[in-house]
């Protein structure tokens, strides 16, 4: 479990994340939603220790994040940022192999090799593994980066807008993969999503942020309500139900 206690992050005197306290349950998909500038990505960055909070504590598996060595922490938690601009010319299998870096420091053993192959198969990249990453399409690239995270084999996977720039087919494909990761491998997935319907369809919990504070946190069913959503996004929502899943119509 990840516990956040009184997390505050300020950029040039403007607080972006304000006094956030949150308990993120294990083995679930948790979506962070909110308008632009609500502090979702910053909060995600703080949890992944890519950003240092100005105040507050992060506790992972009952241990303060600061007590972890960088290398050890990388075996527990991984993050995939929204803009994965790779300057290097690497083959798919080479990039995915770097997911094993926290364990192997570049010298791959048989376990590493197994995990790499497993990750490649999990994301259906077996046919592409010898291609260079920069030759692939957006959807394929995103799968490659996800495979790298899968190979890293951490309990907690943080994703910053994993559907950014993907079409509907590929978005659904990625979400299904995340579901499988959660179900088959017991991973905890915490992600920032912009499309409220993707959050509604695929996540177990939703945390709604507004101007740096957690407005609502709870099971998806309880959060997807017209009143709460209007409070978070400042627009009107109509909620439709289909197969016990809620779909939001906000095209007014």
């Amino acid at each position: 479990m990840i516990s956040l206690k009184n997390i505050t992050k300020t950029y040039k005197n403007t607080p972006v994340v304000k006094n956030v306290t949150l308990e993120l349950p294990k083995g679930k998909i948790i979506s962070l939603v909110g308008s632009n500038g609500a502090g979702k990505s910053t909060l995600l960055g703080v949890i992944a220790r890519v950003l240092n909070p100005d105040d507050g504590q992060i506790i992972i598996n009952e241990r303060n994040i600061e007590d972890y060595k960088t290398r050890l922490l990388a075996q527990h938690i991984s993050i995939l940022k929204q803009s994965n601009h790779l300057n290097l010319k690497l083959a798919v299998k080479e990039l995915v192999a770097f997911g094993r870096f926290p364990y192997s420091q570049g010298k791959l053993n048989t376990t590493d090799q197994e995990k790499i192959n497993e990750a490649l198969t999990f994301l259906e990249l077996d046919d592409l593994k010898d291609r260079y990453v920069d030759e692939l399409s957006g959807g394929q690239k995103q799968r490659v980066f996800l495979a790298m995270v899968v190979a890293q084999d951490t309990d907690y996977i943080l994703l910053d807008e994993p559907l950014n720039n993907l079409d509907m087919k590929h978005s659904v494909q990625i979400m299904k993969t995340l579901q499988a990761l959660c179900k088959q491998k017991g991973k905890t997935i915490i992600m920032v999503v912009h499309d409220i319907n993707f959050a509604s369809q695929y996540s177990h919990y939703i945390a709604a942020l507004k101007s740096g504070e957690i407005k609502y946190f709870g099971k998806t069913q309880d959060i997807i309500e017209p009143k709460k959503l209007k409070d978070v996004f400042d627009i009107d929502f109509e909620i439709l139900e289909h197969n016990n899943k809620k779909i939001c119509n906000y095209f007014n």
């Binding site: 992944a48 290398r71 922490l73 601009h85 010319k89 690497l90 080479e94 770097f98």
Partner: protein, 329 residues
């Protein structure tokens, strides 16, 4: 899988053999005609010439070729920019400033002290360059090396100023022309006893090889490095230390060798990709072969005189780069 691996090893051996052949050819080129037969017969005069002048020159060529190419590669990883190299980051200019400082302040000191001063100046300048580009708002692929050139220009102008002031312009060659100054790269003056500092590149080469995977991770950016549990700043500093040591050792012994650090890593990256663990041996060997070829042509073309090595690298390097660009289209 095994077949591919064997094939790659074979290619690597081929490249190593090429370097060896070129090195042997390089040994037997010169005004005094030496034939391998004379050496095998242990002809005293020829063997002496070989050990005092020809061997040191060839070894300096090989080490410089390896060192400059690897330096370029590390700088490109650290800055995440394919066009950054010792020439376009102010490193070479800083090494020059370091040598000028020693000429003015401690002219009587030994070569080693001069090397250390030069190394310190180069290392500080590299740190400053990294600091500058970290503060840049637009880190475009072209802008960063331009800033590097400007930065080098500023360092160079400081060097020029003090060189004029102390009347040692001839030595420092601060005017960037080719008029016979020893800081323009030149292998003709290499003799036993004055080139040994170049061996200081070797530890840097070994460290680079050990750290190859880490340098690749650094090339993916600070956040990716953090995510993979890598101590970004310590690896960055180790990289800069290696680069500074190599560059100052080379500049002190043979002078400034331009372009090499830019051209070689880019050619290898084009064909082999950027996984340093796999490509580093190619970069090193290809750098050595390339420099040997340039030197051999430069020595033969207007025999018994020599075309400056910098000019040869510019010609051959520029030409091959052009071919690469045209083929890419």
């Amino acid at each position: 899988m095994n077949v591919i691996k064997n094939y790659n090893t074979l290619k690597l051996f081929g490249l190593a053999a090429l370097v060896l052949v070129l090195a042997i050819v390089s040994l037997f080129i010169g005004v005094k005609n030496i034939s391998p037969l004379q050496v095998l017969n242990w002809n005293k005069q020829e063997v002496m010439l070989l050990t005092i002048s020809r061997f040191p020159r060839t070894i300096a060529l090989v080490i410089t070729g390896v060192g400059m190419s690897i330096c370029g590669l590390i700088m490109q990883q650290i800055t995440q920019n394919k066009f950054v190299s010792p020439t376009t980051s102010g490193s070479l200019d800083a090494a020059k400033l370091g040598i000028l400082t020693t000429l003015i302040v401690i002219p009587q000191e030994q070569a080693l002290v001069k090397l250390i001063v030069s190394f310190l100046v180069t290392f500080s300048a590299s740190l400053l360059f990294i600091k500058i580009i970290n503060n840049l708002k637009h880190k475009s692929i072209v802008f960063v090396p331009i800033v590097g050139l400007l930065f080098g220009g500023i360092i160079n102008s400081i060097t020029s100023f003090f060189a004029y002031k102390f009347n040692i312009v001839q030595d420092v060659g601060a005017t960037r022309d080719m008029s016979g100054s020893w800081l323009m790269g030149d292998f003709s003056g290499i003799l036993q006893g004055n080139y040994e500092a170049v061996y200081l590149c070797l530890p840097a080469v070994v460290i680079t090889y050990v750290y190859a995977s880490k340098f690749t991770v650094i090339g993916m950016g600070k956040e990716v490095s953090l995510n993979l549990g890598l101590n970004y700043s310590s690896v960055l500093n180790i990289g800069l230390l290696c680069v500074s040591l190599t560059i100052s050792a080379i500049v002190v012994t043979v002078g400034i060798i331009p372009f090499l650090g830019l051209v070689i890593p880019n050619i290898i990256s084009h064909f082999k990709g950027d996984n340093l663990k796999a490509t580093l041996p190619y970069t090193a060997l290809f750098g050595a072969a390339f420099l040997l070829v340039c030197d051999i042509i430069g020595r033969l073309i207007i025999f018994p005189f020599e075309v400056p090595i910098g000019l040869m690298i510019g010609l051959v390097g520029g030409f091959s780069f052009l071919i690469l660009l045209i083929k890419k289209q």
